[in-house]
Symmetry: C2
Subunit: 236 residues, 2 copies
């Protein structure tokens, strides 16, 4: 199959409303069952199963069987990044700010959510802003950078920087990270390995918690205190 045909197939698979809903539901990086995804897309489980099969054989998704459950997840990080970039275009094309709060669920998503493997929403932007203000992070739309003081700062918070050291460039030992434009805040926040490390550490240490079956994130009192006192982050 030519590259062009593959391109079209991938985009077409992402272009069906039902499949798009399921893909977005998988954007939090977790693995979900066909029934859960069917509910998310508003279709019957049989139909969802067919969609999932097609996306799996195409290589967009991967499945792992656990007992009588089959868990589906995004196959690779680059798939997540692709979905993110499509959402980015969709956000730019959306009406210039409908500003009517669509509901409590939507409000929770705007406040804090995961963007595949890192924080987004107001939380993600606030953390990035705080790190920039403290001089620990530099961020442009092209790229981001964790400074030397930033490495120390995160280390003091118990964050394991070792896995990220491997991503340092050889010469200067700087930690580079990917910027990610938020669709609700329309502001840059931290993605890539650095963003993922912060998100993982926050979840592991009880600073934040995943909410039920959504991408929304709950900030625990402990987390709120740390974000406020250590980061100086404005969390609304």
């Amino acid at each position: 199959m030519s590259t062009n045909a593959l391109f079209a197939e991938i985009a077409a698979l992402s272009g069906d409303p039902a499949r798009a809903s399921m893909l977005q539901a998988l954007m939090d990086g977790r693995a979900l069952t066909a029934t859960e995804l069917a509910k998310a897309a508003g279709i019957t489980p049989q139909t969802a199963s067919g969609h999932l099969n097609r996306m799996t054989t195409a290589g967009l998704l991967s499945v792992e069987q656990q007992g009588r459950h089959r868990y589906h997840r995004l196959a690779t990080p680059s798939v997540a990044q692709m979905l993110e970039s499509i959402m980015q275009v969709a956000a730019e094309l959306a009406p210039p700010r409908p500003r009517l709060t669509v509901g409590p669920r939507d409000a929770a998503l705007r406040r804090a959510r995961t963007c595949y493997d890192h924080f987004a929403g107001h939380l993600g932007v606030a953390l990035a802003d705080a790190l920039i203000r403290l001089g620990h992070v530099e961020l442009t739309s092209d790229a981001g950078l964790l400074t030397e003081t930033g490495v120390t700062f995160l280390g003091a918070l118990g964050m394991d920087v070792e896995p990220m050291l491997a991503r340092r460039t050889k010469r200067s030992g700087r930690v580079l990270c990917r910027p990610c434009l938020d669709w609700s805040e329309r502001r840059l926040h931290l993605g890539g390995a650095l963003g993922a490390a912060i998100c993982t550490h926050s979840l592991d240490n009880g600073w934040t918690r995943r909410l039920d079956g959504t991408r929304a994130i709950h900030i625990t009192p402990k987390g709120a205190r740390i974000f406020r006192e250590r980061f100086g982050a404005m969390l609304g």
Copy 2:
């Protein structure tokens, strides 16, 4: 329209083989007419016109009229980045290297081409490698960085760094740039504002030249000498 519906519409628009061909033809950043795009996609002009209309009203493309010609181009850089990320997934899903040279045109594309606004193919990777070897650039899959010596180096080559200074972060004045994974070389090269600046400068100074109606790039003798002697780039 909800974000989800917009997402699906955008992906679906990119998912038709004919439209996908046209979008990829526009990936060199230039503006093309409906007839040219029809030829690229292998369809009749009237069919192409319909497709172009839909993509324009959706906001993926923009048109500008010049006499009896209507030039179509990608509406925003984020659209180009979206297409790039889809190609990225397609490249990962493609068979592990069909290695049969598909033809001279394809060979030219592999050697040197534009990727919206910067160089890709063997040329793009070789330039990035050279700058990294000289210690002027640091590059990871998450982000890239032009070092202080890199700023001097490019300045000595007559490259106008002023527009890029605006993209420097305020604190350290470092120039950050976007990494871009090549679909033919499967290696990182320079994108973002820095990659665009290098590409523009090369074209303006006769180091490279665009080939007819394709994305392929021709390296002039002058350019080959500069790339070899100043960059130390292996252009095979």
